[in-house]
């Protein structure tokens, strides 16, 4: 194997690569996934009760409501518009505070307050908003609170949803850049017969595979780091994070090269990814739903780089804490290497027969 030839082929890959829409896709996807998953699914699994307020007299209730944690408050000017939003389930509840509301409450006379809930709002949100509103109005009375409440947190600090979704985003980033880009490149070269052209030069198949693999590892590492950067998730140990990403890149590249060497055309490759993707992706489930048994995720090779990344992001860990996972990951990489070589030889033979 000649390192000079590998460098030459890699140079060509790096020059030609950015022209492929897939490389652009590999870099854009983590950003889109981050926005989608954090914005869309984060809000889906942890929705805040939504309260609309029309304040006709500058009540303290409005100001105090806006300072509350965990309740999305929208202050509006028009009662009818707010009621429409409550009815359309754009708000869980609406509060109308008439002019002079605070003065009425402070004088001890019954206050006229309109509280509306949407038919589609959850019962839990209705009660939470009702009780909170009651407390806000009590606050206007100006008397000392009847009770002092001390809050005690119990249980271990579990990673929040954003952290639990991170393995999914990282997985997409490294799988597209590390596996799909080299595989698609191989298939494209086979279909357009440029691979045969390269092989009539002194370059050998294993050098072509090494160059394409290196490109995949560089891309996977880059997209993985970009993903962690935009998610502000460098973790407690940079060494663990970078080593895990490197492991991810090499493992994905090997899978990509095997598929790229095997698939006869892009359609077959795409279909294989569509079907086989689940085998690579399923370990992310354990991070999303920690109550599931971990052994299921351990059956998937990607667990051995996702778990160290997840641990580094959510807890204080060093290499000593995750070395077992990393070593198993390396063993998988080592086991895949001869399969890549074998598939390369097989492809070389097929190309020789068809040219």
């Amino acid at each position: 194997m000649s390192f000079t030839r590998i460098r030459t082929i890699l140079g060509r890959e790096l020059r030609m690569g950015p022209r492929s829409p897939l490389v652009l896709y590999a870099f854009v996807l983590p950003v889109v996934m981050t926005l989608l998953i954090r914005g869309v699914f984060g809000g889906l699994f942890a929705p805040e009760p939504r309260l609309g307020i029309v304040d006709e007299g500058g009540s303290q209730v409005t100001q105090r409501a806006q300072e509350l944690d965990g309740i999305a408050v929208t202050v509006m000017d028009d009662v009818d518009a707010m009621l429409d939003r409550v009815e359309g389930n754009d708000l869980d509840a609406g509060l109308v505070l008439p002019a002079g509301f605070d003065a009425t409450v402070m004088s001890g006379t019954p206050a006229d307050l309109g509280f509306y809930v949407g038919g589609e709002s959850l019962e839990s949100n209705r009660i939470l908003l009702a009780v909170t509103t009651l407390d806000l109005v009590r606050g206007v009375e100006g008397t000392a609170p009847p009770a002092e409440v001390e809050i005690v947190q119990l249980g271990e600090d579990t990673p929040d949803l954003t952290a639990r979704l991170l393995p999914l985003i990282v997985m997409y980033a490294v799988a597209i850049a590390g596996a799909f880009v080299p595989a698609a490149g191989m298939v494209d070269e086979k279909v357009h017969r440029t691979l045969s052209a390269v092989l009539v030069s002194p370059a050998k198949m294993n050098e072509v595979l090494a160059a394409k693999g290196l490109l995949g590892v560089i891309l996977a590492l880059a997209t993985g780091l970009v993903t962690l950067a935009i998610n502000d998730a460098w973790g407690s140990s940079i060494a663990v994070t970078v080593l895990s990403l490197l492991l991810a890149g090499v493992m994905m590249v090997e899978i990509g090269l095997v598929l790229g060497a095997w698939a006869r055309d892009a359609n077959t490759l795409f279909t294989a990814f569509k079907a086989g993707g689940i085998l690579i992706f399923f370990p992310v489930i354990i991070f999303l739903f920690p109550s599931l048994p971990e052994w299921i995720a351990r059956l998937g090779p990607s667990f051995y780089f996702l778990d160290p990344i997840f641990q580094a992001v959510t807890t204080e860990v060093g290499l000593a804490d995750v070395w077992v996972e990393l070593v198993i990951g390396l063993a998988i990489v080592a086991a895949l290497a001869p399969i890549v070589v074998m598939m390369g030889r097989n492809l070389e033979g097929r190309l020789a027969r068809t040219t």
């Binding site: 896709y25 942890a46 944690d69 965990g70 019962e123 009847p146 001390e150 947190q153 569509k274």
Partner: protein
């Protein structure tokens, strides 16, 4: 121009043979469909509308009544309450621990110190509301009733009250799954079209008596039929055809025409398979946005309503989850049909130009 049915039929039959000959594709298509069906049935089919809390009142028989949205469990000791909150047993996420003699202290107007246990990760709004609830209990014991009854009498419910029968995540997923299947099928059609252009088999077809129009008609019919059949099967398997089946099938048919138009566009613009994937994703991702929007409560934003597939996703959820009929979704279907006309025409025109250029 006259379209000859037998010519179109022959081209469709050729495409169908190509599609079914590859057992790998057929197997993967069926496996994919089965996978979506399994995912659907594993999704939660009910909505948990209750916050479960625990209460312990040392030396007192305090009874806090549960109500809609609130489940109250009484514990015999502080340890039992702490343990329940920590482990989340009986779904308890937080608890109130009232001290010995708190009722008497409250009645005497003395300050009462209450401990509120909260499991880590409990939403802020629950913590806030529970503190308010504790204060209200003490105020009530002190003879200071709430200024108004927000929990029942003074509350006005707007719209149909769906308390206890909310639309579940499973039901909300229906449009997204259907749109996803349509998009995947469109990708397959786009690839088929691109392959015909790239390998120039289209020119081989056109040296036969078949005309370009017949070729385009056959591709469109095959793509629409394939997308429609697979999506209709999916909807059948996920129970979406139980109400207003004909209107639902009409909706799916329009959806199939819509994605076929997009597939013709992507297939014409992509030079090879990778190009087709790129163009398809560029076109198809926006089409999936209304499906995602259907997962959320409330009305969609104006820009989401302007998306071509909004009528498809909204009609599906209205028909399957809100008991709507044809008359209710007719304006949405009209908008969808208009988008179908625009995208389908654009797809056919661009593909025709590409075919003529070969």
């Amino acid at each position: 121009m006259t379209l000859r049915r037998h010519t179109i039929g022959a081209i469709i039959a050729k495409d169908a043979r190509l599609f079914t000959r590859d057992r790998f594709f057929v197997l993967i298509t069926l496996l994919g469909l089965a996978f979506y069906v399994v995912i659907f049935w594993f999704l939660p089919d009910t909505v948990d509308e209750t916050v479960a809390i625990g209460v312990h009142a040392e030396g007192s028989s305090l009874h806090m009544a549960a109500g809609p949205g609130l489940q109250v469990t009484t514990f015999e000791s502080t340890e039992a309450l702490r343990s329940a909150v920590e482990e989340g047993s009986e779904g308890v996420v937080a608890g109130l621990d009232f001290p010995q003699g708190f009722a008497e202290a409250a009645r005497n107007g003395e300050a009462v110190r209450i401990t509120q246990y909260v499991r880590t990760g409990t939403p802020d709004e629950v913590t806030t509301a529970l503190g308010s609830l504790a204060s209200e209990v003490v105020a009530s014991l002190a003879g200071d009733p709430p200024p108004f009854d927000l929990v029942s009498a003074d509350v006005v419910v707007l719209g149909e009250d769906r308390a206890g029968s909310q639309v579940s995540l499973q039901e909300r997923m229906r449009p997204l799954l259907a749109v996803f299947i349509l998009v995947v099928e469109a990708l397959a059609l786009a690839s088929l079209v691109s392959t015909e252009i790239e390998q120039r088999t289209v020119t081989a077809v056109l040296v036969t008596p078949a005309t370009a129009t017949e070729f385009l008609a056959a591709k469109s019919l095959f793509g629409t039929g394939l997308a429609f059949a697979e999506t209709a099967l999916l909807l059948l398997l996920i129970g979406a055809l139980a109400t207003a089946p004909l209107t639902m099938l009409l909706t799916v048919m329009l959806g199939a025409v819509l994605v076929t138009g997009v597939a013709l566009l992507a297939g014409s613009l992509g030079k090879d398979f990778i190009g087709v994937v790129f163009w398809s994703i560029l076109f198809m991702v926006p089409l999936m946005v209304p499906g995602f929007a259907a997962l959320f409560p409330g009305s969609a934003a104006t820009w989401v309503k302007a998306m071509p597939s909004y009528g498809l996703a909204r009609s599906m959820i209205d028909l399957s989850s809100y008991g709507a009929g044809f008359a209710d979704v007719a304006p949405l279907l009209l908008g969808l049909a208009a988008w179908c006309a625009v995208l389908f025409t654009a797809g056919v025109v661009i593909l025709r130009r590409k075919v003529h250029a070969l």
